[in-house]
């Protein structure tokens, strides 16, 4: 099957063309390798990744299942990039985003043969300076104040623009991130790029919440996509930013060496969940709510500083977030070789940074057993643009 020419189109511009498919993800069918030959039989190829439509009221990467591969790029605007130039940049990116979603090469791609269907999503947002420079008003976007436990490194902080690239494989994601940065060159320069991976399927190929590198099921408390609770938690409800949201990107370093010294019981107590299933220690299954008041033999079943309790809506005035994780490792050179740092690239989506993310984070900064093994080393906030209309361009409701 030719990667191009699947669809025929005649009129194109920044907005690309027809869409393929709808926003759905389907469990990857487990493929048994033929271990004799080392290859799967060529007669029965694995079903390819399903394209995720770039169009809709919201950018699709936020509600899509956590992608296997993620790259987040943050860019800084060149001095002369005014509002008119912003529109041009967003039109260039819109062309790219649509082509990537459809598995087509972007126009002028010097490595166009890399393009193939990879369930790519690109989520685009604006940082504080862009919002200010272009005269936009996003009261929901706020700076996250410094936390006592933070050890922020400037190389992982800030940025005037963001593009969160998600996809089914790291090669496609790397190429897409590179393309977006290259095509932004007349307007902006890369500030930082962070990558991560996520395993959103279980051993039999069914969708699963996925785990961080501590082995914890991570994301169980997310409001279910499409639910009324999700809508209320994530989307900015009205105004030019309606359908948009805010994103806080936190780079969390996780100290595996000391974490691994814990007993399993201690590990579970620190988070308040069963490691194997992700279920609260108060019972039920992974998606059951925790029971903050439950006692076992007179003592709290869930420790008062357990992560799941400290971050629970009941302890934070009802505040919630929608979190998407991506695991990272970073090889750091040493005098004699290298060592590896591990962590979580943590994306928090919420309608309002102050009322949701910051509220919960301050509660965790005050007390959270996990603070002993986790440290934020990067932090950035962005206003995420509303969804893309077919024939439109990203940001048109906020910039026109």
């Amino acid at each position: 099957m030719s990667p191009r020419g699947i669809e025929r189109r005649r009129l194109l511009g920044h907005v690309g063309s027809a869409v393929v498919g709808a926003a759905v993800a389907v469990p990857t069918t487990a493929l048994l390798l033929d271990t004799e030959s080392g290859h799967s039989p060529s007669s029965s190829p694995t079903p390819g990744p399903i394209p995720i439509s770039p169009y809709g009221a919201h950018q699709p990467g936020i509600t899509a299942p956590p992608p296997a591969a993620t790259a987040i790029v943050a860019l800084d605007l060149l001095d002369e990039v005014d509002r008119a130039a912003a529109v041009r940049l967003l039109k260039v990116w819109t062309t790219d985003v649509v082509a990537m979603a459809e598995g087509r090469p972007v126009p002028g791609d010097p490595a166009r043969d890399l393009a193939q269907s990879a369930s790519l999503t690109v989520t685009v947002g604006l940082g504080h300076r862009a919002v200010r420079r272009w005269g936009l008003d996003v009261p929901e976007l706020a700076r996250v104040p410094a936390m006592r436990h933070d050890r922020l490194e400037p190389r992982w902080c800030g940025g005037d623009l963001v593009a969160v690239v998600g996809g089914a494989d790291a090669t496609s994601v790397a190429h897409a991130a590179r393309t977006l940065v290259r095509d932004a060159r007349p307007f902006a320069r890369l500030r930082w790029q962070q990558e991560g991976s996520w395993r959103g399927t279980d051993g039999s190929g069914h969708r699963a919440t996925g785990r961080n590198l501590f082995g914890q099921v991570d994301g169980s408390a997310n409001p279910p996509a499409g639910s009324e609770l999700f809508e209320r938690t994530v989307w900015i409800p009205r105004g030019p930013w309606a359908g948009g949201t805010t994103l806080v990107v936190r780079r969390i370093r996780m100290t595996l060496d000391t974490w691994e010294e814990l007993t399993r019981e201690e590990m579970e107590a620190s988070i308040g969940r069963d490691l194997a299933s992700g279920a609260p220690l108060t019972g039920g299954d992974e998606l059951s709510d925790i029971d903050p008041e439950a006692r076992t033999e007179g003592r709290w079943t869930i420790a008062r500083d357990a992560h799941a309790l400290r971050s629970h809506p009941s302890r934070n005035g009802g505040a919630r977030i929608h979190r998407i994780g991506a695991n990272w490792t970073e090889t750091v050179p040493t005098a004699t070789g290298s060592r590896v740092e591990s962590g979580l690239l943590f994306s928090s989506y919420q309608a309002d940074v102050d009322r949701q993310f910051t509220r919960i984070q301050q509660s965790l900064d005050e007390s959270d057993a996990l603070n002993e093994w986790t440290t934020a080393i990067g932090s950035a906030e962005f206003a995420i643009l509303p969804g893309l209309r077919e024939g439109g361009w990203l940001g048109e409701t906020v910039l026109t």
């Binding site: 511009g13 062309t95 166009r112």
Partner: protein
């Protein structure tokens, strides 16, 4: 890199030629109004995707640019891209890069660009491209221009072409046009200056002008 002088000289000659040819070239398809463009039956065979044009901001010669795209012929007959026009360009030609005497040079395509039946054809830097000359304004990355493509089956296709920054070394693809070119194959390239008389040491960065 070298030869600024021959480049400019050549360019002046080209522009003079361009002016002569303006009436003939400039008014063809662009003004021919969309009566053909809307005729699906005529234009159905070839589709256009991945169109883009090179921005001219900061470029060596902002009066010229090039457009690239994928042409896909779904039909059962070969179709030739015969002409192109745009309201931003006084003159538009179909060009190719070809080896001449050991040097890569740009030249007008004789007889147009054939898209074989059932095949596609990529117009790209270093290969076939639509040369936009005599630009009447700067092309800024992120804007869109219109391009009307005329095909041998009588169809005209209007394409909205996004302008992007040019990311490769300009000299590769942006040499001055050769309007009156008649190089068929075995030809002697007449150098416009003595300096260019030394045979090829750098194939890519020479701004060859071929005038006859």
């Amino acid at each position: 890199m070298r030869i600024n002088l021959p480049y400019r000289t050549t360019l002046a000659a080209i522009l003079a030629t361009a002016l002569l040819g303006f009436a003939a070239c400039g008014d063809d398809k662009a003004d021919a109004e969309p009566k053909d463009t809307n005729t699906q039956a005529v234009a159905a065979a070839v589709s256009v995707s991945e169109p883009w044009a090179r921005g001219t901001v900061g470029s060596e010669d902002p009066t010229m640019s090039a457009a690239f795209m994928m042409l896909d012929n779904a039909g059962t007959e070969d179709v030739t891209l015969e002409s192109a026009s745009s309201d931003v360009a006084g003159r538009t030609e179909l060009h190719e890069m070809a080896m001449k005497d050991g040097k890569m040079v740009m030249q007008q395509v004789e007889g147009g660009i054939v898209v074989p039946a059932g095949k596609d054809m990529l117009l790209q830097p270093g290969g076939y491209h639509v040369m936009l000359m005599d630009l009447n304004r700067e092309l800024v990355p992120g804007e869109e221009i219109n391009l009307v493509l005329g095909f041998s089956d009588g169809s005209n296709v209007t394409v909205t072409v996004p302008v992007k920054e040019f990311t490769e070394e300009e000299g590769h693809y942006h040499e001055p046009g050769t309007p009156e070119h008649t190089h068929g194959g075995d030809d002697k390239v007449v150098k416009p200056s003595d300096e260019a008389a030394t045979p090829s040491e750098d194939a890519e960065d020479d701004h060859e002008g071929h005038e006859h």
